[in-house]
Amino acid sequence: MVTPAQPPLLEAVGISKSFGPVEVLGDINLSLAPGEVHAIIGENGAGKSTLMKILAGHLPPTKGELKLDGKPVVLAGPVDAEARGIVLVHQEILLAPDLTVAQNIYLGREVRKGLTLDDKAMNKGAAEAVRALGIDIDPTTVVGRLSIAQRQLVQIARALLVPHRVVIFDEPTASLTLTETDALLRVILDIRKKGAAVLYISHRLPEVKEIADRVTVLRDGKLITTRPAEGLEAVDMARLMVGRDVAKLYPDRVATRAVDYALEVEGMNVPGYAHDASFKLRQGEILGFAGLVGAGRTELLEGVVGLRTSHGKVRLNGKPVHFVTVRDSLRAGIVYLSEDRKGKGLLLGQNLGINLTLAALGQFVRGLRIDRRKEAKALDASIAEFDIRTRNKDLLAGQLSGGNQQKLLLAKMMLLNPQIVIIDEPTRGIDIGTKEQIYKFIAELAESGKSVIVISSEMQEVIGICDRILVMRNGRIVGEVSGNHMTEDEIVVLATGVTSREAASMAEQA
Amino acid sequence: EDKKVTIGVSIPAADHGWTAGVVFHAERVAKLLMAEHPGLNVIVKTSPDAASQANAVQDLATQGLDALVILPSDPDPLVNAIKEVKDAGKFVTIVDRAPSTNDNSIRDLYVAGNNPALGQTAGEYIKAQTPDAQVVVIRGLPIPIDQQRQDGFDKGIAGSNIKVLDRQFGNWNRDDAFKVMQDFLTKHPKIDVVWTQDDDMAVGVLEAIDQAKRTDIQYVIAGAGSKDMVKKVMDGDKLIPVDVLYPPAMIGTAMALTAANFYDQIPVRGTYILDATLITKDNAKDFYFPDSPF
C-alpha cells in the first residue's frame, strides 16, 4: 500500500450501500490524491458505478461518509457535487436526445447575454470542447442523430466544461475505437497534470495499465485491494477481479474447413449508410467486421436482416432470400443481437423471464396460453448455461449489471436456435471474466456448425476470436484480412486509410 | 297533518341559457311548494346527458318516490328508465320533450311547450311580414326537438316565396352562432331574415351582423323568451321586433300540477300544451323576469 504524499482530495470512509435488503457495497474506503489517476476495476455488478454515483452525489450512501479536503461533506445532489468540483461521466449516456450538441453541453449552465442566450458563444465553446477530445462534431447537430460513440464523447466534453477537481469516468471508452481512446487518454493525462484527480473505470485492462497511478479492485461490493499500478500486469488485475486465473482470454480454435457458404450478400446498399457491400460467410465460421465508429457496420447488417430498408442480393445456404422484416430473417434462422442492449435488446422495465422468452414465445405456447412453468424452467436453464448472476429471479432486466444484461440477451436470442448469429459489440462494457465466457460461447457456436458474425470496435477482440475480418470504411467494405495478416496495424490501415502511427499523430494535432 | 309526499324532479344540467332557466324555475317552485305543503319533499336533480339522466332517474327511484317530474334531455333514450318508474306505480309527469310513444302507458301527465309551434310561429311571422325574404337558419344541436322545430318552421313558411339560403348548426352556443353567422354573411351577399330558434344564439348573431356593418338584414327571430331578448323587444330594437315564447318556467307548471294531484283533489292527468306565444312590443312586459338568470 502506498500512501500518497499529499493529503487526499476526496475520501470515502466506510461507505456501504444497500438497495432494499441487498447490500451492493460494503464498507469501502478509498482516498484520492490530487494529480493521480486512480483506476477502479471489477467484474460486472461489482458495484463500481454505484460507488461512483455515491462519490458524485447521485446516490446517498446507506452508511459511511465522504470527506472533501479532509472535511466531512454531505453531497446534496449532482449539482452540489459539481459546484464542489466533482464531475461524473456516466456509464449510461445522459443527454437530451432532442437538443443539439452545444445545447446539451451547456444545459443547466447556459451562457447568457442579457436576457437571451448567447448561442454563438455556446456553439463555439462546444466545438472547442469537442475538438479537445480529438473529434469534430458540428455543435448544432441534434444529439439523437449521433452514434453512441459520438454521444459518449459529447458527454465527456460536457463534464469537462466546468472547473473540476475530481473527474470520474465510468467506462468512457466502452464504445470508443482505438484512436478516440488514445485521444481521451491524453486528455486524462492533461487533467492530471493540472493537479486534479481522476477516477477511471474500464474493463480494458491494458488501458488501465497504461494510464493509472493506482488501481483499486472491487469484487462483490467489497474492496479487495488498492495498489500502485506499477508492476501490476493485466493478468494480475484480471486475477484480482475475478478471484481466479484468467489465463487465456481467447479460446483456441481451428478455422472452419467448410466450403459451403451459409450466407452470401451481394451488392448490398443501405441508403445513407452502406454502399455496394458484398461478403460471404462460411458454415461454422466466425467472421469479424472491424472499422471505425460510424463506418456503417451496424447499419449494413441491420439492412441484411431486414431491420432497415436495403437493396441487394442475399443467399441463404445458396438459396436466394429476401428479408422484408426482421421476422423473416428470424424465421430463416438468423438472429441479430443489437449493440444497443438497453434501447433495442431488452425490456428494462420487465422481469428476466419475460425478456428471455420474448423472441421465442411461440415455443412456450401450449394451446392458447403461455406455459409459465416451461418459461420458468427455461429461465433456470439459461441462468445456469449463461452464468447470469442475479440475486433474485424476479429482478427487472434493467436492474442487472451490463454484463449480465448481455448474457441475458444472448440467452434470449439462442432460444431461437439460430443457424447464423450476428453479434454487434458483444463485449461492450463487459468485464474480463464475462468476456472470456462470451468468447468461449461464441467459439462453441462455431464449433457446433453455426456461423457467427462479430461486429466489434475492439481490435484485439476481432483478432482474437475471428477466422477472417472484413474492414469497413465510410459505408464500404474496403478489405479483408485473415490468417497472420490479422494484426492491429493492417486493420487500422484499412479502416482509416492511413497507418496507425499517422492516425495517432493526426488525432494529436486535432 | 300534511300528507308525506316525495316528488323527484329530473332535468338536464344547465348547459345553456334555456336549460339554466329550467333549473332556476325548478328550484324556485320546489321551494314554494315545500313551503306550502310541509309534508312535501321535492328533490331536484340535473344531468348532463341522456345516459346520466337515466342514471339519475334510477337514483331518484332508489330514494323512494311518489312522483317523478322529468324534462328529458333526449326523450327516446329515456323511455325505458321512465317506464320502470311508471311500472312501479308512481305518478309520472313528462315535461316538454315527448318520446315517440307519448301515451298513458308511460306517463300520467304531459306538460309541454310546443316545439313544432315554436318553429311554425316564427315561420308564419316571416311569411306575414316579408313573404319574399331570403332566410338563413341557425339550428341547435342535431337532436329530435331541433328537428321538430325545423319541421314546424317549414310548415310555417309553406306556400310563400321565402327562400331558405342555408342551414347550419350553432349548437345552441353563442360562440358557434357568431362563427356561423360570420360565414353566412361572407357567403350570402343578401340576407333578409335570420331565424335562430334560440335566444342564446341570437346574441352571437347580432354581434356578427353588427361587426360586418351589414344593413340588408331586416330582422332576426330567436325564441325562448330570455330576459335580454324580451327587453330588446320591449325597447323596440329594430333587429329584434319579436321573440317566440318557449318558457323554461313550464317545469314549474308541471311540478305544481303534480303536487296538486296529491294535495288538491283535482284530476290532473292528460296533456297540457303551452302556447308558443309571439312576444311583441305590446305584450313583452308580461314576459319580462329581471331576476331570472335567463
Partner: protein
Amino acid sequence: MTDTTSAAPLRRSWRDIDLRAVAPFVALALLLVLGSFVNPNFLGLDNLSNVLTRSAFIAIIAVGATFVISAGGLDLSVGSMVAFVASLTIMFLNSGMIGNPFLMLVAAMLLAMGIGALCGLANGLITTVGRIEPFIATLGTMGIYRGLTTWLSQGGAITMRQPELQQLYRPVYFGKVFGVPFPLVAVALSAIVGAFVLYRTAFGRHVVAVGSNEDVARYSGIPVNRVRNVTYVIQGLCVAVACLLYIPRLGSTSATTGLMWELQAITAVVVGGTALRGGVGRIWGTICGAFILEIVGNIMLLSNFVSEYLLGAIQGAIIIIAMLVQRSLVRRS
C-alpha cells in the same frame, strides 16, 4: 439510447407492483364507506346493483382501452364509435331484413361486432401505417364517427321500432342470470377474457412489449404494427359489446350518444393503475376504476347537500384525490 433507467425508480417498482395493483381497490372500499354515510340507501342491493350495472358500458369499453394504452396507444374515438355502431345496429334492426326476430337479433349483434372491429381497424391503420400520433388520429376519427352518426340520424334520434324485437332484446340489459344483472355478467366475461388474453397469451405479452419499448419489440421479431392494430380492433370489439348492452337499455341513439365516454374510459384505465405511457396493463384495476367513477356520481346524486351546479367540480376533485391517495399509498410502501 439516452437510457436513463436510473436505479431508483426501478428498485422501487418491483415491490410496489403489488400495492399499485391493490390501490384502486382500496380507493373503491373507501368510497363505499363514504357512500354509506351519505345515504342509508347507498349500500342497498338495489342501488349497488343499479350503479354497477350502468357502469358496464364504460367498464367494457375500458377493457379495450387497457389493451390500446398498454401497447402505447390511445383511442379518443370510442364515445363516437358507440354512437356510430349503435345507430347502424338499430337501423339494421329496424330494416326488418330478417323475419325471425331471434335470428334478426343474432345477425344484428354480429353486425355490430363487425362494424366495431372495422372502426377499430381504421383507427389502428391510421396510427400505424399513417404514422400519425394516436391522439390526433383518433381525434380525427372521433369527428368522423360522430359526424356520420349525425348524418345517419339526420339530426334526430334513431329509435328501435319493432316492439317484439324490443321485448326480446330487453333482457340483455334488464335481465338477470342467477340474480346477477346481465350487464355485470358481460363485464365479468369481458374482464376474464381480457385478462386471459393480456396476461396468459403470447399476444398479450407482445402488447406489453410493444408498449414498453417498441424498438426492443421490433428487434425481437414482434410485428409491432400488427400488434397495435389488433389492440385497436379489440377496442372496437369492446365498444361493440358495450353497444349491444346499450341498445336495449335506451332503445335509441342520437348524435349525443356516448359523448365524452372516451374520457371516462381513459380515466377508468388510469385510475385502475395502468400508466398512459404504456407497458403495463391492469384489467381488473380498470374494472375497478370504472366502478369508482360511477359510484362517485351516484354518491353525489344520492347526497342532498351538493349543489347540482357543483357536481362536475366535485367529481373532478374526487378523481384527483383518488389518484393522490393511490400515489401516497404506493410511495409509502
